[in-house]
Symmetry: C2
Subunit: 760 residues, 2 copies
């Protein structure tokens, strides 16, 4: 088959970049002493029998981060970064993920290397067998497994142009075999470029033969974690491959199929034998060392290179004497793995031919944007010090490989914690959605962004699918609920009918109609507000009644914003946000206008600057609090208090910089959940129930929270109920305890995965 | 108590107009022969044990229309008009509601007057007793029962100013007694002005004494339906009133309390005795004859007058010798009832004093807008021919009272059917909401408009409350469903994952990104469209692929409308709207662009004018179809076909006037529900289920509906799903069978009230 021709066909070209990707990244949990962690896999991840993202490999300390299958490299790295963040932040405070394939110094005693404590006993037995067969220490090496699938449209368009195969599955199998054969022949180049295990640490090669370090890749050499030399499997055809594996198992050379540690694996069915029927669905490269310069162990450039390299393996001619061809590749790889990383490789010329050939292919396929990447690899071929192994070795020379790795690991750990309210990879999404995604990944609920700009997620656990928008809009609320809540008049009518105290008032659709009602309001405290705006626009408050003129002016302002205007009794008191999920108040928040507290020394400007250093403060709603501004409005507010930004407030003097308490204008969020009696919580819960909502932020005006609302019917008033209430301000408040509302949302959706004890 | 002073207090004045109203209007069902209907009360109304709006009174032919309690006269008439519409349209095709208090000629035989066929046997027994005690014929008279309650804020503000009562309920009782005493004294004026039963028809006074006709009001005289003269009840105090009624029942002069047919009744508890404890909540006037000049039997002016009259009864001095006072009133009323309607009344001077007094009160209370109404009554006092009885008598003289009443009844009946898709009283609301309200009223589900401009309804049956917006947004759909549907990308992803055929494509957020994908689309039929607009703006269709230039131009147009743009394969075929409720396709609609069919004689302009005569066509979405325009776009479309508005199309030639098939631009709606095989319906049902929706209009492109979609996977494509699908176009299509989708919505919400047999 001339794949080159098929790939170059105009029908194929539109899909040439199409592919699917997945990564499994292993890494040792290490404590701040630089030794293997002695703790168990964090309990917070829940059950390892189903966790799709965070697993353990051989040992209890060996974390495995698994991405879902993605349609782009960009998406792959979003997940990889996110899962890394979750894993890193969920571990014990003094632990980090070791950035090297080679483990740190191992314990002297074998029994101190903990085999993973899996609940499935067969899995434990298998690990015990491996420990016995290969030794525990070799199992402690970590790497990247890279799953790759050519895009379906691309494969289909290749398929329809050829005539050799009538069965699509058989065609795909042939295509992946061709790719694999060439890959095995030329993979030494990957080892040269990406090999990153030049040196071992203490107690790795205990009682075993060791190579003469430094090398390019201990892990990819025969000193790495490979099958015994008597395991031989042919890649000549699917039939031969399957027969050989079966034979190895029958002869006891392998305990089972999955013990066949090839640098490339064919994937498709549950068992290797299924491949014969269903065909190969994707391939798994297992020869990628951890790149310590990338936090997640592999860089986007590496993945791009691997994609083009695999395409080139398909594109290239290959030898029909497959077994010899593969054997030659094995030998070259072993040679390159054990070369000194500072030396030019023995196969420099072949490497150069490959890279030049890749460039020609990329140009022919219209992928010139990848040429600089290949040029960078050519430079590394010319200059071995620039390869990963070369760089690691050089840095190890300066102090030690351990210190170098420790410093990097610690740095990545700190990066994960720096803005712990954000989720790497998804920082463009709204904060509440980022936090919910964090929780879902942590708990092993599959999460897929189906529309990033719309904050639309698809969650899945086994067969149970849920869609979530804005982290709080779910299938659990009924459609009529947000419609009730977005209409202030309807909300009030429903609440009033259910017996709750709401501001008395009326709705008007013309100034004339509203003017007729003037006598009703003239003498009392009241508010005029447009019916449907939410941002405080067009609102006038008369705390001591109003003259007819002022009333008319207030109406005019409100009618500028809406065709319907509400005039309502004004309720004095403090406004609190009660966040109710599934019938329970889970958080109560007090919002205070932007302010600083004086120390008798510093100016307002200096105090603001200091307050803004809080890492919780950011901008554009991508942080739980906003930076305090010193703009026109704030300066006007200062002026009204006889101050400027250069004034020095007295010690403990609170200087407000805003009238409004919105978090979005620098306000402080204060969690006061535990300060309220059950009686107030019940009012909020029952009001939300009356509105029919499962998730709502309901705003109560409370003059004095120490008054018992059961004895005083003026103790509270309900201002409004929100169907899209912000959650991040509760999770990361300025003061008081954070409330993980996102986890409560997940619990509402997936009680089978998450269940916390309910209050009675 | 000086109520006048209390009413004039500045604290009371803001609430002076506040009151609550309710009307029960009786009327005989009469057929087009002008005789009592011989049919039963229409079955479509369901069970009379709970119907809140449409009942029967004494006889099976005597319909009783009952409004809910309303807070304004305006609202009262909305309901009265609506309930009249529903009753009138639900009766047999040849029946109408008799507009007079006096029934038409009654059957000669007593047994032909059917007692109401109620399911509660005690109710039937009571009617049998009444027939025996008073004779069936007197029971056949109809009238208005007018329920009136002073506003709660008004009563509260009167209460807080006085010192005599400490108990609010006792205060209210006293207040209503005062009102009732004066009302009984002066009600003769109501009889004079609103009396409207001057003449009886054949077989009414059979074997009973009859007055000398014409009179002002047979119904309000002793010849009307009154208790026997030995029934005497004092209105001196609540205690006396209750004791007397009890005594009458004990002595057997009344079978039970409710047989006490006073012109005014006190209402509060379930039984009269409850009034002692709970106080009077409202009063019921029973002395209002049907006004035949108002379709609903009473006019807004009459209700306004009654409100002011009752206020004046409270305002006026009254005599402390209550029994004599009331007795004097009784005598005057009897006298006035039996006066010749063309004569001046004997109590002209007292009448004039009353009306002048009312004017003074209205001025003092700041209700001058009602002065013209009183002046109108003064004119009627001066000119008896202008009273209702006077007018009816004069018209009866011209032909006969029967013919006059028949003509009016027929006219009202026709008015009800004229635009039978609308609901009188609520014509400003969206059509689907009007239709749903019609169905709810018909089926006896209580309906309250809680926000008219927002199409927000509150439905109730017994304890079961539902809120509905736009007639199709309910508690039965989950919140995430409309969010999925309003996002085209998310909708497609969900449908595709569930195995449905949707247009292949991609979403782009920049022109650059979209241009990179050009090769994917260049050679195929495709569409470029903005992600979130719905009105066809910014869409470009390339039916045969596109050049890069055209592609770029299409993208620019789409990006003008939205920041996200979809490029999708174009699916050829006809678009059908499948309306799915609760898992069942209830209607399928084909929409055809505005068009006329030639007859070889008339011009396009004439054909359009004729087509626009269809009463289904109107404007601004208040009719099922829109009027066809002949504006710029239509003329351009004609020009492209080589025509003008003056061209004469050949016989059967279809001339399209629009490219788009929207109903809102004059398109035709064609019901094709029965033309589709079950297989297509199942696709729509399953797709809507996959989206999780209970109510949805889903648009399928189908090249050929005779192709079995189970054998051809290209047989359909899903374009979009709508969460707020129009219903009226299905209920009243241009052609084909109407589908009462609103009733299906009610069935979804109230299966306990409405249940139609399900298809298996």
């Amino acid at each position: 088959m001339n794949y080159k021709e098929l790939l170059l066909h105009p029908r194929s070209l539109p899909f040439i970049s199409q592919a699917r990707f997945g990564v499994e990244r292993e890494g040792q949990r290490v404590n701040f002493s630089g030794k293997l962690a002695t703790t168990d896999h964090p309990e917070i991840f829940g059950d390892r029998t189903y966790h799709p993202y965070i697993q353990t490999d051989f040992s209890e300390t060996q974390v495995e981060l698994i991405t879902p299958v993605t349609d782009s490299i960009n998406e792959l790295f979003k997940y990889l970064e996110a899962i890394y963040d979750v894993a890193s932040r969920s571990m014990a405070d003094d632990e980090m993920i070791w950035p090297l394939s080679m483990p740190p110094a191992l314990p002297e005693k074998d029994e101190e290397i903990m085999i993973a404590k899996l609940s499935n006993f067969e899995d434990v037995l298998y690990r015990r067998y491996l420990a016995k067969e290969y030794g525990k220490r070799k199992q402690m090496v970590s790497g990247i497994h890279f799953n790759f699938e050519f895009g379906d449209d691309l494969l289909q368009s290749l398929f329809v142009q050829q005539t050799e195969f009538t069965d699509f599955a058989a065609f795909k199998t042939e295509l992946y075999f061709k790719t694999a054969q060439n890959f095995l022949r030329y993979r030494w180049l990957i080892t040269y470029l990406f090999g990153a295990s030049p040196l071992s640490e203490d107690h790795y090669f205990v009682g075993k033969p060791a190579p003469a370090e430094p090398v390019r890749s201990i892990r990819n050499s025969s000193y790495g974690y490979t099958n015994h030399p008597n395991v031989k499997v042919s890649y000549a055809s699917m039939q031969q491959y399957l027969t050989d594996i079966e034979k190895m198992v029958e002869e006891g050379k392998l305990s089972e199929e999955k013990e066949f540690y090839a640098p490339i694996r064919f994937r498709g069915g549950k068992r290797v034998a299924d491949l014969a029927k269903s065909g190969i669905r994707y391939i798994e490269l297992r020869n990628i060392d951890l790149n310590p310069y990338a936090r997640v162990g592999i860089s986007q450039a590496q993945v791009q290179f691997l994609q083009s390299f695999l395409m080139y393996m398909l594109w290239m001619e290959h030898d029909v004497a497959v077994d010899a061809w593969v054997e030659e590749g094995e030998q070259r790889n072993e040679h390159v793995s054990l070369e000194n990383p500072m030396d030019q490789t023995a196969f420099y010329d072949e490497g150069m031919l490959l890279l030049q050939g890749m460039k020609e292919m990329l140009v022919a396929l219209g992928q010139s944007e990848r040429l600089p990447l290949i040029d960078d690899m050519i430079a590394q071929l010319d200059e071995p010090r620039e390869t990963l192994a070369g760089k690691i070795y050089q840095q190890a020379q300066q102090t030690s490989q351990h210190d170098f790795a420790y410093t990097l690991g610690k740095q990545y750990e700190e990066e994960s914690h720096e803005r712990s309210y954000q989720l790497a990879g998804f920082r463009d999404m709204e904060l509440s959605t980022q936090i919910l995604m964090f929780d879902a990944i942590q708990k092993g609920i599959e999460v897929k962004v189906i529309d990033e700009s719309d904050q639309f997620l698809r969650l899945q656990h086994q067969e149970h699918i849920e869609y979530v928008k804005n982290a709080n809009m779910t299938s659990k609320d009924s459609y009529i609920v947000p419609l009730i809540m977005e209409n202030k008049t309807v909300t009030k009518k429903v609440l009033k009918e259910a017996g709750f105290r709401v501001p008395e008032g009326a709705e008007f659709t013309s100034i004339e109609e509203a003017l007729n009602a003037y006598p009703r309001f003239a003498e009392q405290a009241f508010v005029i507000k447009p019916k449907s705006t939410n941002y405080g626009l067009g609102i006038t408050i008369f705390k001591e009644g109003a003259s007819l003129e002022d009333y008319q002016a207030g109406l005019a302002i409100a009618f500028r914003e809406d065709t319907s205007v509400l005039v309502e009794a004004f309720m004095p008191g403090t406004e609190y946000r009660f966040f109710v999920i599934d019938g329970q108040v889970k958080a109560i928040l007090l919002r205070i206008p932007a302010n600083v507290v004086g120390d008798g020394k510093r100016t307002v400007e200096e105090l603001v600057a200091e307050k803004n250093l809080d890492p919780l403060r950011g901008s554009h709603h991508r942080a739980p609090l906003e930076l305090i501004q010193l703009g026109e409005l704030e300066q006007l507010m200062l002026k009204e208090q006889g101050l400027t930004i250069h004034s020095v407030p007295e010690k403990d003097q609170i200087v407000y910089l805003r009238e409004n308490s919105n978090i979005s204008t620098g306000g402080d969020s204060i969690d006061v959940t535990d300060e309220f009696s059950e009686a107030y919580k019940q009012i909020a819960q029952q009001a939300v129930e009356a509105l029919g909502a499962k998730i709502s932020g309901i705003d109560l005006i409370i003059p004095d929270k120490d008054i018992d609302p059961q004895t005083d019917d003026q103790a509270y008033g309900i201002i409004e109920a929100n169907f899209n209430p912000a959650m991040h301000m509760h999770v990361y408040p300025f003061a008081g305890q954070g409330r993980r509302l996102t986890m409560n949302v997940l619990e509402l959706l997936y009680p089978e995965v998450i269940s916390t004890p309910k209050k009675n």
